[in-house]
């Protein structure tokens, strides 16, 4: 089932186009990472999904509902946080969740379950203003979980957290995913996304540069690290190899992005060019490699991957 379907979504602030005709879809059960540098349009996009920001163009379907009234009804199946955790500072964690439960018309027993799930049960009576940032983030996730939503949208949930806090959030997301919920999480923390998401979309300056399953994005190319006595000759020879999509040099050696994953063929070719390798190793391409390549103005021409 298609949980989110966005077509040509656009938002302009004066002359600035914050979101520029983006399209993407999220299917049921996916953990969808929405990646982009700060100011790339992630929060604006989520705001439009949640109907708190009015789009200037395009359309949004949620749970395959398009009509405005039905869309509002569909949003009742969504739990979400946007930017910072937004709660009443003078109310306790429990009372803040009571507000959420009343809004969602959910039995108040759900509050205890949500607090338990995020490990806040023992501090539920404390005022929100006295919570640490990590606790605030967890309370926000607890709020999003109330009502057992089918879709959980989390905007930068690990923002500002220490490693332990990030791990807690990651575990919570994995726990939600294990329950079969669809999760849409925006972040600029690539390592976090790589560890939790099944699918990603990368957005920059309001445009989606790439989207697809994580496996297809980072597994589509093979990276080889090469070293030889004459590095310059190695670089020139590697660049002339027909199977090389790109060639770079870094402190590890010559980095070759290969369309053909067969390293033996590459080695054979270089030998034929009089270059004998002292080091040849495949390197797994990380999401960070893909992200940096795309957002730092890399020239890889990639379409939407399945």
């Amino acid at each position: 089932m298609n949980v989110i379907q966005v077509n040509d979504l656009t938002k302009k602030y004066g002359r600035l186009t914050a979101v520029d005709r983006i399209s993407f879809s999220v299917d049921a059960g996916q953990v969808f990472g929405f990646l982009g540098p700060n100011g790339s349009g992630k929060t604006t996009t989520i705001g439009m999904l949640l109907e708190i920001i009015s789009p200037d163009g395009g359309d949004i379907r949620m749970f395959e509902q398009y009509d405005r009234g039905q869309l509002h009804h569909a949003r009742k199946r969504v739990g979400a946080t946007l930017e910072t955790p937004n709660f009443y500072p003078y109310l306790s964690g429990r009372e803040n969740l009571r507000v959420v439960a009343r809004i969602k018309e959910v039995d108040e027993r759900a509050i205890a379950a949500a607090l338990d799930a995020v490990g806040l049960a023992t501090r539920a009576g404390d005022a929100f203003s006295r919570y640490s940032l990590g606790m605030k983030q967890r309370l926000a996730i607890a709020g999003a979980m109330i009502g057992n939503p089918d879709l959980v949208i989390l905007d930068e949930p690990a923002n500002g957290l220490d490693p332990a806090g990030m791990r807690e959030i990651r575990d919570i997301i994995k726990g939600l995913a294990a329950q079969g919920k669809t999760i849409f999480v925006s972040s600029h923390l690539l390592h976090e996304v790589e560890q939790t998401c099944t699918h990603v979309a990368i957005i920059k300056k309001g445009r989606i540069l790439m989207q697809g399953s994580l496996a297809s994005l980072i597994g589509g190319h093979t990276i080889a690290v090469l070293r030889a006595d004459d590095m310059e000759r190695l670089r020139t020879a590697a660049a002339s190899y027909a199977g090389a999509a790109s060639v770079d040099v870094d402190k590890e050696g010559v980095i070759v992005d290969l369309a053909d994953p067969n390293l033996a063929t590459l080695n054979e070719y270089l030998s034929s060019q009089g270059v004998f390798l002292s080091y040849l190793a495949p390197r797994k391409q990380s999401l960070e490699d893909v992200f940096m390549e795309l957002t730092q103005g890399g020239n890889r021409n990639v379409g939407a991957a399945a």
């Binding site: 949640l50 708190i52 910072t84 937004n86 959420v100």
Partner: protein, 274 residues
């Protein structure tokens, strides 16, 4: 669940722990009690001073109650509503599932609640303090004809003030800005009125229809005492100023202002990104 009950229960969770709510209500009660209590005390120490009595002194009670309540109600409603924008809980409430209309209606309920509480304060404090004036200071039927006429208009006056504060609270992005707006609204209007009167032509007549002028007519003594109104108008007309509005006109324009303020606020809120 009935939607009004649902919205009220949400708002009640929010405001019952909010100190500003209890402070404005408490200060209003205290101001009323102290003002009337002083009158009773003065009578006790010097019996020639008249005590506060009901039903004779409804007009005094309403004057004190509405004047004491004006600033408190404006500040209370403004802060209770504007802080939701500053804390971004307005946005979160919508994310959690309230429609904009429901959120908006919830805030109207706060206006109704506070205006209602202030209105009840005036009556209850009056009824509690009056017997301290000695024998005969509270006699039945306690609701005189003039009280029956005034009390609904007092409620309308409080609602109009509440809606004005609601508008500022909803439109401003911070509590400070909202308070600035409402205080400017209250303080600048007499100046505008003065300028309009000084300019002459149709402007002095129009100045009588400015919101705060119209609202204050609802609790003005002259609106309920024909003789006093005639006297006031005689003095006003002798200074070549337009006569005061009649009570009916003031009621009508107050209702119009309430509708316009709510409609304008909704128009902006409905379209605004949260």
């Amino acid at each position: 669940m009935n939607i009004i009950r649902k919205l009220f229960s949400i708002e009640w969770i929010k405001i019952r722990r909010r100190s500003v709510f209890w402070v404005v209500v408490g200060v209003h009660i205290m101001l009323l009690a102290v003002s009337l209590g002083i009158q009773q005390y003065m009578h006790a120490v010097k019996p020639t001073n008249s005590p506060f009595q009901l039903p004779a002194d409804w007009m005094i009670l309403i004057q004190i109650g509405s004047q004491a309540g004006m600033l408190l109600l404006l500040i209370g409603v403004t802060l209770l509503i504007a802080s939701e924008t500053a804390w971004r809980t307005q946005r979160q409430n919508v994310i959690d599932g309230l429609s904009r209309g429901e959120y908006f209606a919830g805030k109207i309920l706060i206006v109704l609640l506070l205006a209602g509480i202030f209105w009840v304060d005036i009556i209850v404090v009056g009824l509690i303090i009056a017997p301290f004036g000695g024998e005969g200071s509270l006699t039945w039927p306690v609701l005189s004809p003039i009280a029956q006429q005034m009390l609904p208009n007092v409620l309308l006056y409080l609602l109009a003030l509440g809606v004005t504060a609601f508008m500022c609270g909803m439109l401003a992005s911070t509590s400070g800005a909202a308070l600035g707006m409402i205080l400017a609204f209250v303080m600048i209007q007499p100046l505008i009125s003065g300028v309009m009167i000084a300019r002459g032509g149709y402007l002095p007549v129009i100045s009588r229809y400015l919101p705060m002028d119209v609202f204050s007519n609802l609790v003005s003594v002259g609106s309920y005492d024909a003789e006093r109104l005639a006297l006031m108008n005689e003095r006003i007309l002798s200074r070549k100023m337009p006569a005061l509005l009649s009570l009916h006109t003031s009621q009508l324009f107050t209702v119009i202002y309430i509708a316009v303020f709510i409609g304008f606020t909704w128009f902006i809120f409905r379209k605004r990104d949260l």
